[in-house]
């Protein structure tokens, strides 16, 4: 196995995909959205519950690959407790880190650093970003609660 492939499927990614955190529907969610990747048929639903300006809880349901499930699992872990504007910044940062090679990769101790291996697999970047786009739509409310990566 090449080093690249080990970078993509790091143990932490495999662990999150085997036993994802924060799965299942969130009762009394203040926002939810469905994301889908028409190229591969993957689907993810993200639920958020706001307490004032703060994300009290975030959960997801996904039918997807290891990368998208791990990304959703790690995302929901990070989001809990952030304010809305902190969460939006986290989304922007993650998005630019994955889609622009000019942006330096995250520091090794960053909670999302394990997903940086995706940068070397252009066909898989959308797998990692789909849950985040869906989260962004869930925050935006009912007007934009359907997103696709196309």
């Amino acid at each position: 196995m090449s080093a690249d492939l080990r970078d993509l499927y790091q143990e932490i990614i495999l662990e999150h995909s085997r036993k994802p955190k924060n799965t299942g529907m969130l009762e009394y969610a203040t926002g939810e959205a469905q994301g889908n990747n028409p190229l591969c048929g993957d689907k993810v639903t993200v639920y958020v519950k706001l307490d004032g300006d703060r994300i009290a809880d975030a959960r997801f349901d996904a039918r997807g690959c290891a990368i998208s499930v791990a990304s959703a699992s790690m995302m929901t872990e990070i989001l809990k407790g952030l304010t809305v504007s902190e969460a939006v910044s986290a989304f922007d940062r993650f998005q630019s880190q994955l889609t622009s090679k000019e942006t330096p990769a995250l520091a090794e101790d960053d909670e999302l650093a394990a997903l940086m291996g995706v940068r070397d697999f252009p066909t898989r970047i959308k797998c990692a970003t789909l849950p985040w786009h869906t989260f962004r739509a869930a925050l935006a409310g009912s007007d934009e609660n359907q997103v696709t990566t196309e």
């Binding site: 196995m1 090449s2 690249d4 492939l5 993509l8 499927y9 495999l14 190229l39 591969c40 048929g41 993957d42 689907k43 039918r63 997807g64 690959c65 290891a66 990368i67 697999f121 066909t123 898989r124 797998c127």
Partner: protein
């Protein structure tokens, strides 16, 4: 390497330059022929030869090069006619691919013939390109689409099809071989039963022509479409076969040059077949090279190719069926060259990425056949599809790759 000892596999592999390429330091194992097949050197060289020695626009110029290109293009039409055993070369319409062929029939024949309440029969096995054009015309005409179901093995249910047929049925459009599962549809029965109700039949031959000899007259099929790029020819070129009387009665699909007889602002008259349906300058070099691809296949012989691929499919099915974490999707009694499967608890995209790391190209996803995925309640599958140049060694490489996927996700 193959059960058929006389099959010239080594020569065939040498004829396809890309097969000696390496991917990520490993020999390319190309098992994505259902998406697009690789090209033999003869086809690649023909494209250069056309542009280097016999290229100009066709059917127009009085000059030498135009005549050369026209002759070569029309020779290709005769090659395609013989390939399908069509009665007349006029019945061969060059299109961009099967998608355009189906859109042409749905739009041209559909606008002239479909009225409210008419029925079109499709099957669950269809590629999106044999669903969406019919939905578009059905919506315009007020026609209704009925869908033939499949069973758990992916077999086309002839009994259920028969129940859907009625005097309201005007068109039956089904695939000859399923691109997602490999199921061979009993097209002779489909056509006989449709004709008994006065309905026409269009067959999507994309996945059949590379593997099965097709005789449109023996089938008595009304329309048949295929894409050149799946037949070891160039992309962007394909064939629509239609019975002459039907094509004659249909209005043009696109307007433009080449498809006219005389144009004035008061009235335009259209060209004869096949040119009525070939508006604009065609993919001249592609048409000529498609003829070369057919010649190449005829040189090997379809019986030999079919026997070789049958052996590959049987061998691959046996090897994968022996792995207890593999679920083969599509186990119809009659299949051609396609093996769709899933590995328990591993998503097809992860499988595809890990196999790619070993130089193995497979298709992962819904294969533009979402109704099939829904029928089996999966989002996607891994699909290995075999071509004339694949070997048992390559299937062994696939099995080794699957073992590595399982180790990683264990």
């Amino acid at each position: 390497m193959t059960a058929n000892g006389t099959y010239p596999i080594d020569r065939i592999r040498r004829d396809f330059p890309i097969l000696s390429e390496s991917v990520r330091g490993k020999p390319l194992v190309y098992l994505d022929n259902g998406a697009s097949a690789q090209k033999p050197r003869a086809v690649i060289e023909q494209i250069s030869k056309t542009y280097e020695t016999e290229y100009a626009n066709v059917h127009r110029g009085v000059h030498y090069m135009s005549q050369m290109a026209t002759d070569a293009m029309e020779a290709s039409r005769v090659t395609a006619q013989k390939f399908l055993n069509a009665a007349d070369e006029k019945e061969i319409i060059f299109v961009r691919g099967a998608t355009e062929g189906i859109n042409l029939v749905a739009s041209s024949w559909g606008r002239a013939n479909l009225t409210a309440g008419d029925e079109i029969i499709l099957s669950v096995l269809e590629h999106h390109s044999n669903i969406v054009p019919w939905q578009m015309i059905a919506e315009q005409a007020g026609a209704v689409i009925k869908v033939v179901p499949i069973d758990d093995s992916g077999t086309f249910l002839l009994d259920e099809y028969e129940k859907l047929l009625s005097p309201k049925t005007k068109m039956v459009a089904v695939t000859h071989v399923s691109n997602a599962l490999g199921t061979v549809v009993p097209v002779a029965d489909v056509i006989r039963l449709a004709h008994a109700q006065g309905a026409l039949v269009l067959l999507d031959g994309c996945q059949s022509v590379p593997h099965i000899p097709v005789d449109v007259q023996a089938l008595d099929v009304d329309f048949y479409v295929f894409s050149g790029h799946k037949l070891y020819g160039p992309s962007g070129i394909g064939v629509l076969y239609g019975k002459e009387a039907l094509l004659d009665a249909m209005p043009p699909y696109q307007g433009g040059g080449e498809m006219i007889n005389r144009v004035t602002f008061e009235k335009t008259t259209y060209a004869e077949l096949p040119f009525k349906f070939e508006a604009g300058t065609p993919h001249i070099a592609g048409i000529i090279a498609l003829g070369t691809a057919i010649d190449y296949l005829n040189g090997i012989g379809f019986d030999a190719i079919a026997a070789h691929e049958h052996d590959l499919l049987a061998y691959a099915t046996e090897r994968l069926a022996g792995m207890n974490t593999i679920n083969i999707i599509g186990t119809a009694a009659e299949k051609a060259a396609i093996l769709s499967f899933n590995i328990h608890d591993v998503h097809p995209h992860d499988v595809g990425t890990i196999l790619d790391n070993d130089g193995i190209a497979v298709r992962t996803g819904h294969h533009c056949a979402q109704p099939v995925m829904d029928r089996f309640d999966v989002a996607a599958t891994v699909r290995a599809s075999f071509g004339m140049y694949n070997t048992r060694d390559e299937i062994d490489a696939l099995v080794d790759g699957i073992n590595r996927v399982q180790e990683m996700f264990a």
